[in-house]
Protein backbone atom coordinates (compact mmCIF):
# COMPACT_ATOMS: atom_id res chain seq x y z
CA UNK A 1 0.00 0.00 0.00
CA UNK A 2 1.35 3.37 -0.90
CA UNK A 3 1.97 5.87 1.86
CA UNK A 4 -0.47 8.42 0.50
CA UNK A 5 -3.20 5.80 0.52
CA UNK A 6 -2.50 4.94 4.12
CA UNK A 7 -2.76 8.57 5.11
CA UNK A 8 -5.98 8.91 3.18
CA UNK A 9 -7.42 5.84 4.83
CA UNK A 10 -6.47 6.94 8.31
CA UNK A 11 -8.23 10.27 7.81
CA UNK A 12 -11.35 8.37 6.86
CA UNK A 13 -11.54 6.48 10.08
CA UNK A 14 -10.22 9.20 12.34
CA UNK A 15 -12.87 11.64 11.21
CA UNK A 16 -15.88 9.64 12.45
CA UNK A 17 -14.09 9.05 15.75
CA UNK A 18 -13.50 12.76 16.06
CA UNK A 19 -17.15 13.54 15.29
CA UNK A 20 -18.26 10.96 17.83
CA UNK A 21 -16.01 12.38 20.52
CA UNK A 22 -17.30 15.89 19.87
CA UNK A 23 -20.89 14.66 20.01
CA UNK A 24 -20.36 12.93 23.29
CA UNK A 25 -18.39 15.45 25.25
CA UNK A 26 -21.32 17.78 24.74
CA UNK A 27 -24.02 15.58 26.14
CA UNK A 28 -25.13 16.03 29.70
CA UNK A 29 -27.04 13.74 31.97
CA UNK A 30 -30.76 14.06 31.48
CA UNK A 31 -32.54 13.64 34.74
CA UNK A 32 -36.17 12.77 35.13
CA UNK A 33 -37.64 15.62 37.10
CA UNK A 34 -41.29 14.72 37.34
CA UNK A 35 -42.55 14.18 40.87
CA UNK A 36 -43.56 10.54 41.31
CA UNK A 37 -46.31 11.34 43.83
CA UNK A 38 -47.94 13.74 41.39
CA UNK A 39 -47.38 11.46 38.40
CA UNK A 40 -49.00 8.46 40.08
CA UNK A 41 -51.87 10.61 41.29
CA UNK A 42 -52.52 11.55 37.65
CA UNK A 43 -52.03 8.17 35.99
CA UNK A 44 -52.96 5.92 38.93
CA UNK A 45 -50.10 3.66 37.87
CA UNK A 46 -46.76 2.92 39.50
CA UNK A 47 -43.81 0.95 38.13
CA UNK A 48 -41.41 -0.98 40.33
CA UNK A 49 -38.14 -2.54 39.30
CA UNK A 50 -37.89 -6.02 40.83
CA UNK A 51 -35.60 -8.99 40.46
CA UNK A 52 -36.90 -11.72 38.17
CA UNK A 53 -34.49 -14.51 39.00
CA UNK A 54 -34.20 -14.44 42.79
CA UNK A 55 -36.18 -17.13 44.49
CA UNK A 56 -37.92 -15.82 47.65
CA UNK A 57 -37.39 -12.17 46.64
CA UNK A 58 -38.59 -11.89 43.06
CA UNK A 59 -38.84 -14.86 40.74
CA UNK A 60 -40.60 -15.18 37.40
CA UNK A 61 -43.29 -17.82 37.74
CA UNK A 62 -43.11 -19.99 34.64
CA UNK A 63 -46.78 -20.89 34.79
CA UNK A 64 -48.17 -17.37 34.90
CA UNK A 65 -45.24 -15.30 33.68
CA UNK A 66 -45.70 -13.08 36.74
CA UNK A 67 -42.91 -12.19 39.15
CA UNK A 68 -43.51 -13.48 42.67
CA UNK A 69 -41.65 -13.09 45.94
CA UNK A 70 -41.21 -11.21 49.19
CA UNK A 71 -40.18 -7.96 47.52
CA UNK A 72 -43.06 -8.09 45.06
CA UNK A 73 -45.53 -8.56 47.90
CA UNK A 74 -43.92 -5.80 49.94
CA UNK A 75 -43.97 -3.41 46.96
CA UNK A 76 -47.63 -4.20 46.42
CA UNK A 77 -48.44 -3.54 50.08
CA UNK A 78 -46.50 -0.26 50.08
CA UNK A 79 -48.09 0.94 46.83
CA UNK A 80 -51.57 0.29 48.18
CA UNK A 81 -50.69 2.01 51.45
CA UNK A 82 -49.37 5.11 49.68
CA UNK A 83 -51.63 5.41 46.64
CA UNK A 84 -54.76 3.52 47.66
CA UNK A 85 -56.07 0.05 46.91
CA UNK A 86 -57.01 0.83 43.29
CA UNK A 87 -53.56 1.78 42.05
CA UNK A 88 -52.25 -0.24 39.10
CA UNK A 89 -48.87 -1.75 39.92
CA UNK A 90 -46.41 -2.71 37.15
CA UNK A 91 -43.34 -4.83 37.76
CA UNK A 92 -40.34 -4.55 35.44
CA UNK A 93 -37.68 -7.23 35.87
CA UNK A 94 -34.22 -5.77 36.46
CA UNK A 95 -30.85 -7.23 37.31
CA UNK A 96 -28.02 -5.80 39.36
CA UNK A 97 -26.49 -4.32 36.24
CA UNK A 98 -29.57 -2.63 34.82
CA UNK A 99 -31.36 -1.46 37.96
CA UNK A 100 -29.60 1.84 38.65
CA UNK A 101 -29.66 3.22 35.10
CA UNK A 102 -33.30 2.20 34.77
CA UNK A 103 -34.24 4.09 37.92
CA UNK A 104 -32.25 7.18 36.99
CA UNK A 105 -33.66 7.18 33.47
CA UNK A 106 -37.17 6.93 34.83
CA UNK A 107 -38.07 3.54 33.33
CA UNK A 108 -39.09 2.56 36.84
CA UNK A 109 -40.37 4.79 39.66
CA UNK A 110 -38.75 2.81 42.46
CA UNK A 111 -36.48 -0.19 42.95
CA UNK A 112 -37.05 -3.02 45.36
CA UNK A 113 -34.43 -5.41 44.07
CA UNK A 114 -32.24 -6.95 46.80
CA UNK A 115 -30.23 -3.74 46.80
CA UNK A 116 -27.88 -3.03 49.68
CA UNK A 117 -27.76 0.51 51.02
CA UNK A 118 -24.15 1.57 50.39
CA UNK A 119 -22.44 4.97 50.60
CA UNK A 120 -21.47 4.79 46.92
CA UNK A 121 -25.01 4.17 45.78
CA UNK A 122 -26.29 6.86 48.13
CA UNK A 123 -24.41 9.38 46.02
CA UNK A 124 -26.53 8.37 43.03
CA UNK A 125 -29.96 7.66 44.48
CA UNK A 126 -31.89 7.84 47.77
CA UNK A 127 -32.76 4.83 49.91
CA UNK A 128 -35.70 4.13 52.17
CA UNK A 129 -35.15 2.71 55.63
CA UNK A 130 -33.92 -0.85 55.47
CA UNK A 131 -36.66 -3.44 54.99
CA UNK A 132 -34.46 -6.54 55.17
CA UNK A 133 -31.14 -7.33 56.78
CA UNK A 134 -29.18 -9.67 54.63
CA UNK A 135 -25.56 -10.66 54.99
CA UNK A 136 -23.11 -11.92 52.47
CA UNK A 137 -22.30 -15.64 52.50
CA UNK A 138 -20.84 -18.28 50.23
CA UNK A 139 -22.43 -21.24 48.52
CA UNK A 140 -20.50 -24.40 47.67
CA UNK A 141 -21.15 -27.93 46.55
CA UNK A 142 -21.56 -30.37 49.43
CA UNK A 143 -18.21 -31.92 50.25
CA UNK A 144 -16.25 -28.96 48.94
CA UNK A 145 -12.99 -28.09 50.66
CA UNK A 146 -14.17 -24.51 50.94
CA UNK A 147 -15.71 -24.14 54.40
CA UNK A 148 -15.76 -20.38 54.72
CA UNK A 149 -14.62 -17.25 52.98
CA UNK A 150 -11.16 -17.77 54.51
CA UNK A 151 -10.61 -20.80 52.30
CA UNK A 152 -10.90 -18.68 49.17
CA UNK A 153 -7.18 -18.25 48.71
CA UNK A 154 -4.76 -18.01 45.82
CA UNK A 155 -5.84 -20.16 42.90
CA UNK A 156 -9.52 -20.33 43.79
CA UNK A 157 -12.29 -18.83 41.71
CA UNK A 158 -15.39 -17.27 43.18
CA UNK A 159 -18.49 -16.48 41.15
CA UNK A 160 -20.44 -13.30 41.81
CA UNK A 161 -23.11 -11.16 40.21
CA UNK A 162 -22.27 -8.07 38.14
CA UNK A 163 -23.25 -4.85 39.85
CA UNK A 164 -23.89 -6.41 43.24
CA UNK A 165 -22.29 -5.15 46.42
CA UNK A 166 -21.04 -8.66 47.14
CA UNK A 167 -18.43 -8.55 44.35
CA UNK A 168 -17.08 -5.35 45.89
CA UNK A 169 -16.94 -6.98 49.34
CA UNK A 170 -15.40 -10.25 48.24
CA UNK A 171 -12.36 -8.41 46.93
CA UNK A 172 -11.75 -7.26 50.52
CA UNK A 173 -12.50 -10.56 52.25
CA UNK A 174 -10.79 -12.85 49.74
CA UNK A 175 -8.40 -10.59 47.87
CA UNK A 176 -6.44 -13.44 46.32
CA UNK A 177 -9.36 -15.29 44.84
CA UNK A 178 -10.24 -14.62 41.21
CA UNK A 179 -13.73 -13.12 40.89
CA UNK A 180 -15.89 -14.09 37.91
CA UNK A 181 -18.91 -11.84 37.46
CA UNK A 182 -22.02 -13.07 35.69
CA UNK A 183 -25.13 -11.16 34.70
CA UNK A 184 -27.55 -12.54 37.29
CA UNK A 185 -28.03 -15.13 40.02
CA UNK A 186 -29.41 -17.77 37.66
CA UNK A 187 -26.40 -17.54 35.33
CA UNK A 188 -24.02 -17.45 38.29
CA UNK A 189 -25.54 -20.60 39.79
CA UNK A 190 -25.47 -22.35 36.41
CA UNK A 191 -21.78 -21.44 36.11
CA UNK A 192 -21.09 -22.74 39.62
CA UNK A 193 -22.82 -26.02 38.82
CA UNK A 194 -20.78 -26.50 35.68
CA UNK A 195 -17.60 -26.07 37.69
CA UNK A 196 -16.58 -22.58 36.57
CA UNK A 197 -15.77 -21.60 40.15
CA UNK A 198 -15.10 -23.06 43.59
CA UNK A 199 -17.80 -21.04 45.31
CA UNK A 200 -20.51 -18.53 44.60
CA UNK A 201 -20.99 -15.47 46.73
CA UNK A 202 -23.89 -13.14 47.22
CA UNK A 203 -26.36 -12.37 50.00
CA UNK A 204 -27.54 -15.22 52.22
CA UNK A 205 -31.23 -14.82 51.39
CA UNK A 206 -30.54 -15.23 47.69
CA UNK A 207 -28.28 -18.22 48.29
CA UNK A 208 -30.91 -19.92 50.49
CA UNK A 209 -33.34 -19.38 47.65
CA UNK A 210 -31.01 -21.23 45.29
CA UNK A 211 -30.48 -24.14 47.67
CA UNK A 212 -34.17 -24.54 48.39
CA UNK A 213 -34.57 -26.71 45.30
CA UNK A 214 -31.07 -28.08 44.93
CA UNK A 215 -29.86 -29.89 48.03
CA UNK A 216 -26.44 -30.77 46.61
CA UNK A 217 -25.28 -27.21 47.32
CA UNK A 218 -25.21 -25.51 50.69
CA UNK A 219 -24.34 -22.22 52.37
CA UNK A 220 -21.18 -22.44 54.51
CA UNK A 221 -19.37 -20.28 57.03
CA UNK A 222 -22.22 -17.94 57.95
CA UNK A 223 -22.46 -14.32 56.94
CA UNK A 224 -19.40 -12.09 56.91
CA UNK A 225 -20.97 -8.72 56.06
CA UNK A 226 -24.13 -6.80 56.83
CA UNK A 227 -26.28 -6.00 53.81
CA UNK A 228 -29.32 -3.92 54.71
CA UNK A 229 -31.68 -3.77 51.72
CA UNK A 230 -33.39 -0.49 50.93
CA UNK A 231 -35.94 0.70 48.42
CA UNK A 232 -34.27 2.97 45.89
CA UNK A 233 -35.84 6.16 44.54
CA UNK A 234 -34.40 9.07 42.59
CA UNK A 235 -32.60 11.86 44.41
CA UNK A 236 -35.20 14.60 44.16
CA UNK A 237 -38.19 12.45 45.16
CA UNK A 238 -38.24 13.43 48.84
CA UNK A 239 -42.03 13.30 49.14
CA UNK A 240 -42.22 9.85 47.61
CA UNK A 241 -39.39 8.63 49.84
CA UNK A 242 -41.01 9.78 53.06
CA UNK A 243 -44.32 8.25 51.95
CA UNK A 244 -42.53 4.93 51.43
CA UNK A 245 -40.90 5.15 54.85
CA UNK A 246 -44.23 5.93 56.50
CA UNK A 247 -45.86 3.00 54.73
CA UNK A 248 -43.04 0.68 55.80
CA UNK A 249 -43.43 1.80 59.40
CA UNK A 250 -47.17 1.26 59.28
CA UNK A 251 -46.85 -2.23 57.76
CA UNK A 252 -44.40 -3.16 60.50
CA UNK A 253 -46.66 -1.81 63.22
CA UNK A 254 -49.82 -3.56 62.02
CA UNK A 255 -48.05 -6.91 61.57
CA UNK A 256 -48.44 -7.18 57.78
CA UNK A 257 -44.69 -7.02 57.34
CA UNK A 258 -44.15 -9.95 59.71
CA UNK A 259 -46.80 -11.96 57.83
CA UNK A 260 -44.86 -11.48 54.60
CA UNK A 261 -41.61 -12.51 56.27
CA UNK A 262 -43.27 -15.65 57.62
CA UNK A 263 -44.85 -16.42 54.25
CA UNK A 264 -41.59 -16.31 52.33
CA UNK A 265 -38.87 -17.12 54.86
CA UNK A 266 -40.72 -19.14 57.54
CA UNK A 267 -39.96 -22.49 55.93
CA UNK A 268 -36.37 -21.86 54.90
CA UNK A 269 -33.99 -24.15 56.75
CA UNK A 270 -31.00 -22.36 58.22
CA UNK A 271 -32.63 -18.98 57.87
CA UNK A 272 -33.27 -17.35 61.20
CA UNK A 273 -36.37 -15.23 60.73
CA UNK A 274 -35.45 -12.97 63.62
CA UNK A 275 -32.39 -11.58 61.86
CA UNK A 276 -34.48 -10.28 58.99
CA UNK A 277 -35.36 -7.06 60.69
Amino acid sequence: MRWRKIKQASVWWLLPLFVLTLMLTGCGQHIVTKDVMQQVAESNEITWGVKGDMRLFGLTDIKSGQVKGFEVDLATAISKEVFGKEVKINFVPVNSNTRLPLLRNGNVDALIATMTITPDRKKEIDFSNSYFNAGQAILVKRGSKVKSVKNLTQGTKVIGIQGSNSVVNIKKYAPQSEVLQLADAAQAFAALKSGQGDAMTTDNGILYGLTSDDKSYHVVGGTFTKEPYGIGVNKHQKKFLSAINQALKKLEDNGDYQKLVDKWFGQIAGFDGSVVK
Partner: protein
Amino acid sequence: MISILTAHWSELVEGMKYTIGSSLIALIGSLILGIIFAMFVISPNRWLRIIGSVYVEIFRNIPLLVVAMFFYIVMPRFVPGLDGFKAGTIGLTIYTSAFIAETFRAGIESVAVGQMEAARSNGMTYLQAMKYIILPQATKIVIPPLGNQFVNLVKNSSVLAFLAGFDLMYQGNLIASTTFKTTDTYLAVGLLYLVMTMPLSYLMRYLEKRWSRLPTV
Protein backbone atom coordinates in the same frame (compact mmCIF):
# COMPACT_ATOMS: atom_id res chain seq x y z
CA MET B 1 -16.40 9.71 28.79
CA ILE B 2 -12.84 11.00 28.89
CA SER B 3 -12.77 10.52 32.65
CA ILE B 4 -13.77 6.86 32.25
CA LEU B 5 -10.99 6.34 29.71
CA THR B 6 -8.35 7.86 31.97
CA ALA B 7 -9.55 6.40 35.27
CA HIS B 8 -10.05 2.87 33.96
CA TRP B 9 -7.45 2.77 31.21
CA SER B 10 -5.66 -0.32 32.52
CA GLU B 11 -8.84 -2.43 32.79
CA LEU B 12 -9.97 -1.33 29.34
CA VAL B 13 -6.61 -2.15 27.79
CA GLU B 14 -6.66 -5.49 29.57
CA GLY B 15 -10.09 -6.10 28.06
CA MET B 16 -8.84 -5.14 24.60
CA LYS B 17 -6.05 -7.68 24.92
CA TYR B 18 -8.56 -10.43 25.60
CA THR B 19 -10.81 -9.23 22.77
CA ILE B 20 -7.94 -9.18 20.28
CA GLY B 21 -6.57 -12.49 21.57
CA SER B 22 -9.91 -14.22 21.29
CA SER B 23 -10.51 -12.77 17.82
CA LEU B 24 -7.09 -13.83 16.55
CA ILE B 25 -7.33 -17.37 17.90
CA ALA B 26 -10.84 -17.68 16.51
CA LEU B 27 -9.70 -16.29 13.16
CA ILE B 28 -6.98 -18.87 12.74
CA GLY B 29 -9.13 -21.70 14.10
CA SER B 30 -12.14 -20.83 12.00
CA LEU B 31 -10.03 -20.48 8.85
CA ILE B 32 -8.68 -23.99 9.33
CA LEU B 33 -12.06 -25.48 10.27
CA GLY B 34 -13.82 -23.47 7.58
CA ILE B 35 -11.54 -24.67 4.81
CA ILE B 36 -11.81 -28.27 6.00
CA PHE B 37 -15.60 -28.17 6.03
CA ALA B 38 -15.73 -26.34 2.69
CA MET B 39 -13.70 -29.19 1.22
CA PHE B 40 -16.15 -31.63 2.79
CA VAL B 41 -19.12 -29.82 1.27
CA ILE B 42 -17.71 -29.94 -2.26
CA SER B 43 -15.98 -33.30 -1.97
CA PRO B 44 -16.94 -36.09 -4.37
CA ASN B 45 -17.58 -38.37 -1.37
CA ARG B 46 -21.27 -38.38 -0.45
CA TRP B 47 -20.79 -38.94 3.31
CA LEU B 48 -18.26 -36.14 3.63
CA ARG B 49 -20.67 -33.90 1.75
CA ILE B 50 -23.44 -34.70 4.20
CA ILE B 51 -21.23 -34.12 7.24
CA GLY B 52 -20.00 -30.84 5.81
CA SER B 53 -23.46 -29.54 4.92
CA VAL B 54 -24.96 -30.49 8.26
CA TYR B 55 -22.15 -28.75 10.13
CA VAL B 56 -22.45 -25.59 8.06
CA GLU B 57 -26.25 -25.44 8.21
CA ILE B 58 -26.41 -26.07 11.96
CA PHE B 59 -23.91 -23.44 13.00
CA ARG B 60 -25.13 -20.85 10.51
CA ASN B 61 -28.63 -21.07 11.90
CA ILE B 62 -28.05 -21.04 15.66
CA PRO B 63 -27.22 -17.82 17.54
CA LEU B 64 -23.62 -17.39 18.60
CA LEU B 65 -24.81 -16.74 22.15
CA VAL B 66 -26.43 -20.18 22.32
CA VAL B 67 -23.28 -21.87 20.99
CA ALA B 68 -20.99 -19.97 23.37
CA MET B 69 -23.27 -20.53 26.39
CA PHE B 70 -23.39 -24.21 25.56
CA PHE B 71 -19.61 -24.43 25.74
CA TYR B 72 -19.58 -22.42 28.97
CA ILE B 73 -22.19 -24.13 31.09
CA VAL B 74 -22.87 -27.52 29.51
CA MET B 75 -19.57 -28.71 28.07
CA PRO B 76 -17.46 -28.34 31.27
CA ARG B 77 -19.33 -31.37 32.65
CA PHE B 78 -17.63 -33.45 29.98
CA VAL B 79 -14.50 -31.40 29.32
CA PRO B 80 -13.18 -29.82 32.53
CA GLY B 81 -11.16 -26.61 32.37
CA LEU B 82 -13.29 -24.69 29.88
CA ASP B 83 -13.32 -21.21 31.41
CA GLY B 84 -15.18 -18.23 29.98
CA PHE B 85 -12.41 -17.16 27.65
CA LYS B 86 -11.79 -20.65 26.27
CA ALA B 87 -15.45 -21.55 25.96
CA GLY B 88 -16.25 -18.24 24.28
CA THR B 89 -13.35 -18.51 21.87
CA ILE B 90 -14.27 -22.08 20.94
CA GLY B 91 -17.87 -21.02 20.38
CA LEU B 92 -16.70 -18.08 18.28
CA THR B 93 -14.40 -20.33 16.25
CA ILE B 94 -17.04 -22.91 15.46
CA TYR B 95 -19.71 -20.32 14.70
CA THR B 96 -17.44 -18.35 12.37
CA SER B 97 -16.04 -21.45 10.69
CA ALA B 98 -19.49 -22.26 9.30
CA PHE B 99 -19.60 -18.86 7.59
CA ILE B 100 -16.04 -19.21 6.32
CA ALA B 101 -16.82 -22.67 4.96
CA GLU B 102 -19.77 -21.20 3.09
CA THR B 103 -17.61 -18.36 1.73
CA PHE B 104 -14.97 -20.79 0.53
CA ARG B 105 -17.54 -23.10 -1.01
CA ALA B 106 -19.00 -20.22 -3.01
CA GLY B 107 -15.51 -19.09 -3.99
CA ILE B 108 -14.40 -22.52 -5.12
CA GLU B 109 -17.60 -23.16 -7.02
CA SER B 110 -17.25 -19.86 -8.84
CA VAL B 111 -13.95 -21.06 -10.26
CA ALA B 112 -15.39 -22.93 -13.19
CA VAL B 113 -15.90 -26.67 -13.00
CA GLY B 114 -14.09 -26.95 -16.32
CA GLN B 115 -10.82 -26.05 -14.63
CA MET B 116 -11.02 -29.03 -12.34
CA GLU B 117 -11.75 -31.32 -15.25
CA ALA B 118 -8.92 -29.84 -17.28
CA ALA B 119 -6.50 -30.31 -14.39
CA ARG B 120 -7.65 -33.88 -13.79
CA SER B 121 -7.35 -34.77 -17.47
CA ASN B 122 -3.79 -33.44 -17.36
CA GLY B 123 -3.03 -36.18 -14.86
CA MET B 124 -3.39 -34.29 -11.57
CA THR B 125 -5.06 -35.98 -8.61
CA TYR B 126 -8.13 -34.34 -7.06
CA LEU B 127 -6.09 -32.93 -4.18
CA GLN B 128 -3.33 -31.68 -6.47
CA ALA B 129 -5.82 -29.93 -8.71
CA MET B 130 -7.37 -28.35 -5.61
CA LYS B 131 -4.06 -27.22 -4.25
CA TYR B 132 -2.43 -25.86 -7.39
CA ILE B 133 -5.32 -24.79 -9.61
CA ILE B 134 -8.55 -24.17 -7.74
CA LEU B 135 -7.59 -22.85 -4.29
CA PRO B 136 -5.18 -20.13 -5.49
CA GLN B 137 -7.89 -18.69 -7.71
CA ALA B 138 -10.62 -19.09 -5.12
CA THR B 139 -8.51 -17.33 -2.49
CA LYS B 140 -8.57 -14.13 -4.50
CA ILE B 141 -12.36 -14.22 -4.62
CA VAL B 142 -12.83 -14.97 -0.95
CA ILE B 143 -10.43 -12.38 0.50
CA PRO B 144 -12.96 -9.52 0.78
CA PRO B 145 -15.73 -11.56 2.45
CA LEU B 146 -13.12 -13.09 4.76
CA GLY B 147 -12.03 -9.62 5.77
CA ASN B 148 -15.61 -8.82 6.69
CA GLN B 149 -15.72 -11.98 8.75
CA PHE B 150 -12.71 -10.83 10.71
CA VAL B 151 -14.34 -7.51 11.53
CA ASN B 152 -17.41 -9.49 12.58
CA LEU B 153 -15.21 -11.67 14.77
CA VAL B 154 -13.91 -8.69 16.71
CA LYS B 155 -17.45 -7.43 17.22
CA ASN B 156 -18.87 -10.87 18.00
CA SER B 157 -16.18 -11.57 20.58
CA SER B 158 -18.30 -9.34 22.82
CA VAL B 159 -20.33 -12.47 23.69
CA LEU B 160 -17.44 -13.25 26.03
CA ALA B 161 -19.05 -10.67 28.29
CA PHE B 162 -21.85 -13.16 28.98
CA LEU B 163 -19.31 -15.76 30.09
CA ALA B 164 -17.03 -13.69 32.32
CA GLY B 165 -14.43 -13.88 29.54
CA PHE B 166 -12.57 -10.68 30.59
CA ASP B 167 -13.00 -9.06 27.18
CA LEU B 168 -13.56 -5.35 26.54
CA MET B 169 -17.34 -5.58 26.84
CA TYR B 170 -17.07 -7.47 30.15
CA GLN B 171 -14.71 -4.85 31.56
CA GLY B 172 -17.15 -2.20 30.34
CA ASN B 173 -20.00 -3.90 32.21
CA LEU B 174 -17.95 -4.01 35.40
CA ILE B 175 -16.90 -0.37 35.12
CA ALA B 176 -20.46 0.72 34.37
CA SER B 177 -21.79 -1.17 37.36
CA THR B 178 -19.24 0.21 39.82
CA THR B 179 -19.02 3.82 38.63
CA PHE B 180 -22.74 4.06 37.75
CA LYS B 181 -21.70 6.12 34.71
CA THR B 182 -23.43 3.79 32.31
CA THR B 183 -23.67 5.93 29.18
CA ASP B 184 -20.16 7.32 29.46
CA THR B 185 -18.69 3.87 30.00
CA TYR B 186 -20.38 2.31 27.01
CA LEU B 187 -19.39 5.26 24.85
CA ALA B 188 -15.77 4.81 25.89
CA VAL B 189 -16.03 1.08 25.18
CA GLY B 190 -17.59 1.85 21.79
CA LEU B 191 -14.73 4.18 20.94
CA LEU B 192 -12.21 1.45 21.74
CA TYR B 193 -14.11 -1.06 19.59
CA LEU B 194 -14.02 1.45 16.73
CA VAL B 195 -10.27 1.86 17.18
CA MET B 196 -9.95 -1.89 16.61
CA THR B 197 -12.53 -2.41 13.86
CA MET B 198 -12.44 0.78 11.79
CA PRO B 199 -8.86 0.42 10.48
CA LEU B 200 -9.61 -3.22 9.72
CA SER B 201 -12.69 -2.49 7.68
CA TYR B 202 -11.04 0.34 5.75
CA LEU B 203 -8.10 -1.89 5.03
CA MET B 204 -10.51 -4.50 3.74
CA ARG B 205 -12.31 -1.98 1.57
CA TYR B 206 -8.98 -0.89 0.13
CA LEU B 207 -7.95 -4.49 -0.57
CA GLU B 208 -11.31 -5.20 -2.12
CA LYS B 209 -10.86 -2.30 -4.54
CA ARG B 210 -7.35 -3.44 -5.39
CA TRP B 211 -8.29 -7.06 -5.91
CA SER B 212 -11.27 -6.17 -8.05
CA ARG B 213 -8.98 -4.27 -10.41
CA LEU B 214 -6.88 -7.38 -10.94
CA PRO B 215 -8.16 -9.82 -13.53
CA THR B 216 -9.76 -12.80 -11.79
CA VAL B 217 -8.81 -15.27 -14.56
